[in-house]
């Protein structure tokens, strides 16, 4: 059979071969590409931890934030790690304690409490928060995040939650 140019047909032989190779390549690309890209989106979500006993409420100072640290056994991907956390506990009365996460809601640096000015200060980009956690200056998009607390038999229990930095809403990561 001679290689006659099939002028009548819309699809030339050359065009068809090109189209078939393209289809094959697209198939390979899709089969390989979708899972490769899908696997990149890691789902390392923090699962909310249990309430951890952190201090005896009676021994906390009243009216001034007190730094408390504790270690929580938590899952980090495929590992169980001892993750340290620190919080600021502000006792208002023996039955009311507000606990702030020290993670700056701007980019996630660690804020410290300045006893002189009675403010929380982030050392990275100078965000400042008042004693009740409200933002007074700096680039942070919201005030300091409060953490869920319980007081049981005079002991303070805190649930560690990490919130999304850089956004104005307080949302767990």
């Amino acid at each position: 059979m001679a290689d006659a140019p099939d002028t009548g047909s819309a699809v030339t032989r050359r065009g068809f071969v090109g189209w078939a190779v393209g289809m094959g390549a697209a198939f390979v690309g899709l089969v390989a590409g979708v899972p490769l890209i899908g696997s990149l989106i890691s789902s390392n979500k923090a699962t909310p931890g249990a309430y951890v006993q952190v201090a005896d409420v009676a021994l906390l100072p009243t009216g001034e934030p007190f730094a408390l640290s504790f270690v929580e056994s938590a899952r980090d991907a495929y590992e169980v790690a001892q993750l340290p956390h620190s919080v600021y506990a502000l006792k208002k009365s023996d039955t009311e304690v507000v606990v702030f996460s020290p993670v700056c809601p701007h980019l996630g640096c660690q804020v410290y409490f300045n006893r002189g000015s009675k403010t929380f200060v982030c050392p990275c980009h100078d965000s400042v928060f008042s004693l009740d956690g409200a933002r007074t200056s700096g680039p942070a998009p919201r005030g300091l995040d409060t953490l869920p607390v319980k007081i049981s038999k005079g002991m303070l229990l805190v649930q560690w939650i990490q919130y999304e930095p850089g956004v104005s809403q307080k949302t767990p990561v």
Partner: protein, 534 residues
């Protein structure tokens, strides 16, 4: 020998290819000012070789990365050099890439038909910065950890696509093992492969139209071999000697292990990113992403577009005042912001007034003693960082520099013990014997972890002060304790991070290198004179 050579030549034409590469024409002749590109290439290869060597010891796990890097630096013969050269070569590489780019711009060597070489070069600059950014956290020390934390925070705060970018590039919002693995994969595989591929194209695109050469006096034509090769070698040998010197004299600092709740350390980005760090201070709130996404993006796009923005064939910088002026302005802006960022704040906050007083730590002292050696005692902390932790937790009782003297009524001694000099019973020091560093650390560590009650004066009641248990109550983290231990050893004249197996003593090795370099200079000087005469 020639038979093997002929056999190879017949199959892969090695000699012909090499001759072809060496016969590159250089308009205006070989010059030392043409060596920046080759110095960059050779520095990249230095990074590749030292990086592969580090891989033989390094483990990318959050629990082991820090210790494995310290093992390379302190225990592996010549590890200080391999790690040091990798560390400093990253800085030198950025300087060389930027220098190469500035020179190419000023001399108009990007103009038609060399636009593609320029574009690939700009991409190489971006890839180099990516390698610097992803390399920083791999040591999982405090600086690297916080760089990752802030990088992840930045990525997540891009409007709309932030969470996607963060999860895809950094492996999620919570900085942990997956973040480290992601940085590791990018740093040792993805980015180097990209750099190699772009570099290959960069060299092909460079050779196609040939070297741009000198702007004026182009009548003389030089050839790459041998004069330019000798000049390239002289410059790179100098770069290598500089890297050995930096590694020997400015040992990469041990800043202490990653501490996710540390308030005594303030994250600062690596120096190439300081200008962006400074820019973020001015662009707060909803404009923030403009600072770290839009500005760099526009910058890169403008750089890529340079061959079309400045398209007249004129190469001499004096005859393109507008292009050179605008470019100089942009470079000056980046440089000024960078210097301001570097000078803006100290790397640490003064924590002595802000950190918690240790006394009520006893309020939560209920955890039982943890048996066996602690994590801190096996971790090499950073003494400088430890000084700050000491200022926050220890100075009230043990005094500045550990000199003691604080009264403790009711105790047998009457004062709180000084820790400088440290009681030899605790350090295990014996006269005439070298000090056993691990024994010293273990002695200090037991007190920091468990606390202690001093022996009381038999005639009075209990001592007024006792040492709180810092470790077991989590009043201090294990990284903080490791840092304080390094500091306590330092004030006692013992270096926690000393090089145990240097191979050759760092400074001695540098003097050897320098001697060798002088010989290289003499030999190449003679060779260049000879080449000029012929």
């Amino acid at each position: 020998m020639t038979r093997i050579g002929d056999w190879l030549e017949e199959r892969i034409a090695l000699g012909k290819t090499t001759r072809g590469l060496l016969d590159e024409k250089i308009p205006g002749g070989a010059k030392f000012t043409f060596t920046l590109g080759s110095a960059t290439l050779l520095t990249f290869l230095t990074l590749a070789v030292t990086g592969i060597w580090e891989l033989l010891y390094y483990t990318p796990g959050t629990a082991t990365a820090y210790d494995s890097v310290n093992y390379i630096r302190l225990q592996v013969p010549f590890g200080w050099l391999i790690h040091g050269v990798h560390h400093w070569a990253a800085t030198v590489m950025v300087v060389l890439v930027v220098g190469h780019l500035l020179q190419t711009f000023l001399w108009g060597a990007f103009k038609k038909p060399r636009e593609l070489t320029w574009i690939l070069g700009v991409l190489l600059l971006v890839a180099t910065l990516g390698a610097v950014f992803t390399g920083g956290p791999l040591g999982w020390d405090d600086k690297g950890y916080w760089a990752a934390r802030i990088g992840v925070g930045l990525a997540g705060s891009i409007p709309g696509i932030g969470a996607f970018v963060r999860d895809a590039v950094f492996g999620g919002a919570v900085v942990g093992q997956l973040t480290l693995s992601r940085f590791f994969g990018l740093h040792v595989a993805v980015i180097p492969i990209l750099i190699l591929a772009i570099l290959g194209l960069h060299l092909v695109a460079f050779r196609r139209p040939g070297a741009a050469g000198a702007i004026a006096k182009r009548d003389r034509e030089g050839v790459f071999w041998p004069t330019q090769v000798i000049m390239d070698l002289v410059v790179f040998a100098g770069v290598l000697s500089l890297l050995v010197g930096l590694s020997a004299f400015l040992l990469t600092p041990i800043v202490g292990p990653a501490d996710p709740i540390d308030v005594t350390y303030v994250g600062r980005p690596d120096w190439p990113f300081l200008f962006l760090f400074q820019l973020l201070k001015y662009l707060g709130g909803p404009l923030e992403w403009v600072g770290f996404v839009l500005v760099p993006l526009v910058g890169v796009v403008l750089l890529l577009a340079v061959p079309w923005l400045d398209r007249k064939p004129e190469r001499s910088p004096a005859k393109r005042p507008l292009a050179v002026g605008l470019f100089a302005l942009a470079v000056a802006g980046v440089a000024i912001l960078g210097v301001m960022g570097a000078a803006a704040a100290p790397e640490t906050v003064k924590s002595s007034t802000e950190a918690p007083a240790p006394t009520p730590a006893s309020a939560i002292e209920s955890t039982p003693t943890v048996p066996g050696p602690s994590v801190a005692s096996r971790t090499i902390g950073g003494a400088d960082h430890g000084r700050l932790v000491y200022g926050a937790y220890c100075v009230q009782c043990h005094g500045p520099q550990g000199k003691g003297g604080v009264p403790n009524p009711g105790s047998a001694d009457g004062t709180i013990p000084e820790i400088n000099p440290m009681d030899p019973e605790l350090t295990g020091a014996e006269k005439g014997k070298p000090i056993d560093v691990q024994k010293f650390v273990d002695g200090v560590d037991a007190f920091l972890q468990n606390g202690s009650v001093p022996e009381s004066d038999p005639e009075t009641a209990d001592p007024k002060y006792k040492m709180p248990s810092f470790g077991n109550t989590n009043a201090m983290t294990q990284p903080q304790i490791a840092n304080v231990e390094a500091y306590v050893l330092q004030i006692n004249g013992v270096d926690r991070g000393r090089i145990v197996r240097p191979g050759v003593e760092p400074k001695l090795y540098f003097w050897w290198t320098l001697g060798g370099y002088v010989l290289v200079l003499i030999a190449s000087g003679a060779a260049l004179m000879r080449a000029r005469r012929t």
